[in-house]
């Protein structure tokens, strides 16, 4: 009796892929929201006003120093305790991932813009470009080119971080795997190895191409 059989018993494989889809869906929604909010965070960080800047800095640092798991519990259990609103696991997961992701995107946006040398602005202006033309033709395209590989990297981290949400009862791929392992614990004691290997492969199939893409784009930027 081999543990590998567990993977192909009943609809186990289908369930794992279904779990992976949950992982991906949560990640995609969170990345989308993070991008949207993060652009504003980044824009605020580039504002000259020191108070606005400080608020953004504090937000980013607080999110950074606290483990994402703590944030997840604060949101999932804390909000219910405080307000009585019963958040479902997926909503709490998306909120946590977005709070984290938006702070990361914000910092990336800030870095992408501040890494553009001042002489790019000056040579644009000295050609007679207006402010709007300067940003549309010179600054934004360069900032976006710098941003894309970093955002792809962040996406792979986000996909991996989604594994945490199994702890608040969201049935994503890791949770499905656990269920399969638990259900077959006695007949197939070594099933865990095979199930986790399958999950590893699934993460790999998703994240590796993204990682390659990001590396390729980074190289292109440095050409």
């Amino acid at each position: 009796m081999q543990g590998i059989e567990v993977l192909f018993m009943g609809n186990n494989m289908l369930r794992l892929w279904g779990g992976l889809w949950v992982t991906l869906r949560l990640s995609l929604i969170s990345i989308g929201l993070s991008l949207f909010i993060g652009l504003f965070v980044g824009a605020f960080m580039l504002v000259k006003n020191p108070i606005v800047k400080a608020i953004c800095r504090v937000y980013i640092e607080i999110v950074r120093i606290m483990p994402q798991l703590v944030w997840l519990f604060i949101i999932f259990f804390g909000i219910t305790k405080l307000t009585g609103i019963d958040l479902d696991g997926e909503t709490a997961a998306v909120i946590m991932l977005t709070i984290w992701g938006a702070s990361e995107v914000g910092d990336l946006v800030r870095a992408a813009f501040s890494s553009i040398p001042s002489h790019q602005f000056e040579s644009g202006l000295s050609l007679g470009l207006s402010r709007v033309q300067l940003y549309v033709y010179i600054i934004f395209p360069q900032a976006v080119r710098g941003l894309v590989p970093d955002v792809i990297n962040l996406s792979t981290r986000m996909i991996k971080t989604t594994a945490l949400v199994s702890l608040i009862g969201v049935t994503e791929v890791l949770k499905v795997g656990k269920q399969i392992i638990d259900a077959n614990r006695f007949e197939y004691p070594n099933a865990a190895l095979w199930v986790y290997a399958a999950i590893f492969l699934m993460y790999f199939i998703i994240c590796f191409p993204l990682s390659l893409l990001s590396r390729k784009l980074t190289k292109k930027r440095g050409e």
Partner: protein, 249 residues
């Protein structure tokens, strides 16, 4: 020489960074077709002067005029005036995400609203003149420093400016590339382009200049024809400065 039309008139210009006076009550005019070379020690205000002429810096006193029109930092009129002032900087400042052709044609198309065929034709002609016709579709990262700087010159020239400001354009180049860039500038001078040039290349300065202005501490210390300045400078300060370029055992 005296009756020619002034392109640039600088009157009593003062520029400070905080309490630090960079340019102090400086007056200077540049005539049509004239090549003025600004020379002086680091921090003497020569680059800042060029930046003020292009309105990149706010000034604390006096005025800069192009054809009698004031160049004022922060004013909307500046965008029109800048089209008539070409500026090339020390750093390779091409736009890295655009081909050479796009770099050169962006401003004439978007700022001047000129016809695309006409602009492309002029771009090819100018690129040919600086020996880079075959690089039109290359990206800046594929060019050497000297080639980038020649493209930057073309990018300014295509606007058909009234005056070109060159700010230490060879300072960041390998010695071998300095020559190819300076030859382009010498050609422009022969062709009658009005220029103000900041440089540390003394031999080039002597060859290209109609007039040499020696700046120190934000004021004009000496103003001469190049053959006078380089061979019999009048002020003690200029003599001392020029000595730093010669070596003897």
């Amino acid at each position: 020489m005296t009756m020619e039309e002034h392109i640039i008139d600088i009157e009593h210009l003062t520029k400070k960074f905080g309490d630090n006076v960079i340019i102090s009550d400086l007056s200077l005019s540049v005539s049509q077709g004239e090549v003025v070379v600004l020379i002086g020690p680091s921090g003497c205000g020569k680059s800042t002067l060029l930046r003020c002429i292009n309105g990149l810096e706010p000034v604390q006193g006096g005025s800069v005029k192009l054809h009698g029109e004031p160049v004022e930092h922060g004013k909307s009129s500046l965008y029109n005036i800048r089209q008539k002032i070409g500026m090339v900087f020390q750093s390779y400042d091409l736009f890295p995400h655009m081909t050479v052709m796009k770099n050169v044609t962006l401003a004439p198309l978007k700022v001047q609203g000129r016809n695309k065929d006409e602009v492309t034709g002029q771009a090819m002609e100018l690129l040919g003149r600086v020996g880079l016709a075959d690089k039109a579709d290359a990206y800046p990262s594929e060019l050497s420093g000297g080639q980038k700087q020649r493209v930057a010159i073309v990018r300014s020239l295509i606007m058909n400016p009234d005056i070109m400001l060159l700010d230490e354009i060879t300072a960041a180049l390998d010695p071998e590339m300095v020559h190819e860039v300076l030859n382009v500038v010498l050609d422009l001078a022969k062709g009658g382009t009005t220029m103000m040039i900041v440089t540390h290349e003394m031999a080039f300065a002597e060859a290209v200049a109609d007039r040499v202005i020696f700046l120190d501490g934000g004021v004009i210390v000496e103003e001469d024809a190049p053959e006078v300045f380089f061979h019999s400078p009048k002020t003690e300060r200029a003599q001392r400065f020029l000595k730093t370029f010669t070596y003897s055992k």
